[in-house]
Symmetry: D2
Subunit: 389 residues, 4 copies
């Protein structure tokens, strides 16, 4: 077995193990619930990432492969119309069987079959790489979703123990200027990227400046204290409607206890730290903050152009001003895999960067994350930009 392949097997094992490590602190009960239609049970994530390899690699390509349980094709399909019917997304939390233990058996069965397959068959290497990146996306989703699930429990239970963190001294934000001009963006080189990151293409940028670090909780508190959630003038119309119909008055997970703002974290409730990057805001809140500050959000091509020098990138996903649309020349791949990204290019906004829950090695300057502008449960923050003219 050549070393390159051994590295591939190691990577496969490592990614698969990492998913299970993330689930390990959770009880069978924790892994079962679905706290809102957009979120999924941990157990479902564990099964669906396994379903991906079973459906796209083992069933069509591994001769003699016997599916672990034929019913799982239906149960753990997320949204692939081309694969066939599927269990309705809002009903994922109703599936008590298979239980957490059985899902682990499913994982072991498929991981074993995959390792067998990969030792002698390299035809699917690209697909496997996609599956591993897919699984890494779900590793982040596991943390996003379980955070939400635990947050609706009035006991505010913790996923993990708190770790002591250095106290930071808040600092004024520095800005960096860019001349713009005709630039190239998008993935074009070697190495893995999702289809929606390409093709690499030219685009025109006017001169702009971009903040060197994301907006902090302290800065966001100033916006709140200046009536940010009560003054329509800062908000997009659809955002203002959210503020009023959903009663937004702070980022998601913030609670005011006896006059002091706290935030629910994976380690339970903590006081808000003004020096940390603000997180769990929607694109609407990000845009309102920017307008209040007299700035704007960066466009994604600006962000990508500046990516090399930005600081704090990777703490929170950074909302951009760019709707999630196809790059010039983009075509979905044929078949079910073509449903991975392309069909979601409507009414969503691009986020860039990565966050503390993103697996190591999973981010790139060209990476395009996307969510609807009212979504708050992913780890979304704010970076400011402005025109230079």
């Amino acid at each position: 077995m050549p070393p390159v392949q051994a590295r591939g097997l190691d990577r496969f094992r490592a990614v698969r193990s990492r998913t299970e490590e993330l689930a390990a602190p959770l009880s069978a009960e924790d892994q079962t619930v679905q706290s809102m239609p957009d979120a999924s049970p941990t157990k479902w994530h564990l099964a669906h990432t396994t379903w991906f390899f079973e459906t796209f690699v083992l069933r069509p390509h591994a001769s003699g492969y016997r599916p672990f349980d034929p019913a799982f094709e239906y149960l753990f399909n997320s949204y692939y119309e081309a694969v066939g019917p599927r269990h309705p997304r809002p009903q994922r939390g109703m599936i008590t069987r298979p239980g957490a233990e059985q899902v682990l058996n499913y994982r072991r069965y498929v991981t074993g079959a995959m390792l067998d397959f990969l030792t002698h068959d390299r035809r699917c290497d690209e697909l496997v790489e996609l599956g591993l990146n897919h699984e890494q996306q779900h590793q982040e989703l596991i943390l996003m979703d379980i955070k939400h699930a635990l947050s609706v429990n009035p006991l505010r239970p913790a996923y993990r123990a708190a770790t002591p963190r250095a106290v930071l001294v808040p600092q004024a934000v520095a800005w960096r200027e860019f001349e713009g001009g005709l630039v190239e963006v998008g993935h074009g080189g070697h190495g893995f990227a999702f289809d929606n990151e390409g093709p690499r293409h030219r685009t025109w940028l006017d001169a702009f400046a971009i903040a060197m670090r994301p907006v902090t909780c302290g800065e966001y508190l100033a916006f709140m204290e200046d009536g940010g959630y009560r003054r329509a003038e800062f908000w997009l119309s659809a955002g203002w409607e959210c503020v009023n119909s959903r009663g937004w008055e702070a980022p998601l997970y913030w609670e005011n206890k006896d006059g002091a703002w706290h935030v629910f974290t994976l380690s339970g409730l903590e006081p808000v730290d003004p020096s940390r990057s603000v997180c769990h805001v929607s694109a609407f809140e990000a845009a309102a903050f920017a307008k209040w500050a007299g700035k704007r959000l960066p466009r994604e091509a600006e962000w990508e152009t500046a990516a090399g020098v930005l600081q704090g990138s990777g703490e929170v996903w950074e909302w951009t001003a760019s709707p999630y649309v196809a790059y010039p020349g983009y075509r979905e791949p044929p078949g079910a895999i073509g449903e991975y990204n392309g069909k979601f290019m409507a009414s969503q906004m691009v986020l860039r960067g990565g966050c503390s829950a993103t697996p190591e090695g999973h981010v790139r300057p060209t990476y395009r994350n996307f969510f609807p502008p009212d979504a708050r449960w992913m780890f979304g923050g704010i970076r400011l930009a402005e025109d230079l003219r």
Copy 2:
């Protein structure tokens, strides 16, 4: 310790154990989910019946009692406004912690404290008897609710193994006639009864006849085959609206597979047995069937008057034509316990008899079960009556 008290302790232990036996076949995952707002997780039933004793007996009456967990007062209150705020009912399935094991610990702790208390203090005996009857009601609810939860799983998993049942030869229904006149109904004698069963009072009945057994699945199939779910003429207006907006075309849990009707049971999917009593119909379906048959549903005073001679009583709860209202002279007891029954006397119908999931010794001829007329997940069936004139 007097023998009577020993019997009391034995009964306390027996009822408490029975609840745990009902939960024993269920995994932690099974016990966590809430498949619709009207249903509750098994785990919640186990905790709430324990909360009842802690809240109404131990906290106010057992000197030096330390609650197992102060947060449970909020978490496991069902609907007692006088006790204080409570976790919203539709959110019961979001509580993953305490888990099933911790809820059992809660049960053991409270059962122990109760047994201590009951050996030396008899002041609360009436309240304890209410608590045991309350727990028996929840034993039936556990089965109703888990049946629904398992039914929404496309795998149709079973709660328990099927037991072989004798094949019955369908028989024509016999009828019994009653002269009516001025009768007395309601609980008036010794022994436990819920407040809503009294006071015993006089009422006038015209002459009537009542069927000796409940309607069978075979008879109900004849209604279905005669267009029962497509002919508005048989239906109350609100029932017809349910048929159309919810797509009713058979009792709950019935599925047509390749032209043959099957029914989901606690032992999984089984062919419909025409000789068994039809079950899981709403009051609307019961009334429509009766109208199709040229009969009517019995009033609850008729049912109670005839109770001594009825056959098949106890298989399925039998919908009556009587809305659930207070008997003449009824007064709720003072305090939180007064919320047990009285405040639900609106827009519900009375069912009589008991069903296969009802704990032994929990039914009486005066027992008044009640549900909204569109409810189908409890074990509701049909008995016919008619006027004699």
Copy 3:
């Protein structure tokens, strides 16, 4: 032509004219809107009462009758399944054509055809009498519904000018006691009655007392000031849910302006007069008030037994404690007319008496009005009763 028939024609003309008089103060715009699904446009009431005579008398019985417009059979059917499909109730306010003028033409056409028919054909006299009583019910509905429609206009426009009313001195309520026993209730004699008022039948009443007049606004204000809308202890569970989810804090149409309660009337906004009967309360509010007062609502058989001596009857419909169910021995008439009353016998409560908007001559001691317990837009008030024992 015999005098009796002349009287019949006069009555027909008079009822038909009265309906048009009620609509006369309203603009075409007023007559078009539907302010909630339960209410209907004035224009629809004018057309539907006409449809009744066209559908049930002229089409089947008047030889050579040509319908005014064949499309109206669909457009103006209210709820008669046996007649065929119909325009959805919540969409009645979307029908701008035929307009108000065309609907008057429709009325004139059908009234003319009916008068022709009635002069020479007496076969349908019973049906015609039903149609006239039906039209009188809609006369009251026109006022109920337009009151609601005008109330949602922030200008609070008036249907008619206010008339000066005598100032009344509030008086303590007197009570009358009844022995009860075996009584007869329900319509059994001569003269018109709806099918649901019969058959006359025996029922048993325990001794009771009943208030001689309805509850006044002043008395209801005392309930409000004593926290009536904030104290769960007075409320049925479903009522308390309404209080909270709909934000009830006073009867419908009451507005607090600068600390003083006002009420929207058909003559616009007026100060609440404490000596008048409270109106536009739901059955839930009526029951909560009664519980607060330490009394209860009368059962409908009690009300009917006492009807001869009650004062203030006819000002507001009086909620009873009785759900709307069939009397013993009740059978719907055959055919579409059988849908008039019987199919609504579910989840509604009986009101007795009549109100200021009820046409003269349209009430009887046996009259059973019915509405869901949360309905407030009809003219519903409160009379108290209590047990004597």
Copy 4:
């Protein structure tokens, strides 16, 4: 008075009159209803366009001006938060008073005051021009909205008589190729434009081709007959959800009668003409059609670059692939007028061109119309584009 101002007054009179001409064929009833929350009553459009001049010109700038009715400030504000509270949009159809006649009085009063003002005061000329363009937008909305309102009437009444149209011979579509490169788009010159059309700015285009005419009904029928509405592969995920949850199977207003497709028009129901441009499709349907055809929708900068040579432009608004976002360097104007366009830049798509209901002289190559991607009641059609590489 200089001629230029006389022309201004003539234009003011002409635009105002045109609005009233559009309403003239409609009855008071027609003008009152609101058939869905997105649409508004004709009467409301007539009043709101008047409110615009009263609120932004007369109240602040015409000394001594007395508002026609102070309540109208609240009643006819559309969405300007800075102006103050307003009547809820979904309740616009509940306002029967002021009636249609009174709204015309309001119009005459304000038109008169404006003409007085404009003869001697030129300070507001820019604002007045905005008001006239605003009123022209509402002229199109009047037709869009009344078409929808009449369409929900099962009688399918016509707004105007049908005019005979030439029968066209369907022709194959021609394509025009563009080299792309660094282009300038957006409004930058003289003459009126909305704020969202600027600033003029550079952008990069890859080479593309664009169809010379919009897609016809005949071409769209081919898509339908090829299973367009049943094959998920053509659809964006959010579009496929619409197809299924709303039951889309043809453009809005299409009805299949006895196997032949008809379309509801402002002149009533007509057979679908295969040679006409398809209309009343959503952006989702436009994108699905394009994918089925192996093409794509044009980006708005492509459309604008090609605008000079396109044929058929102005028949139907043409969906682009571009989300509605701010151009580089865009800033809302200060004050309430700043709410005109900017705050809607979220989750909407740009349409270009204009349609048969657009007032003459109201379109420009830089004009950016915008609607949510699921909207179908405006006159939206399809033009195809493709990459050249």
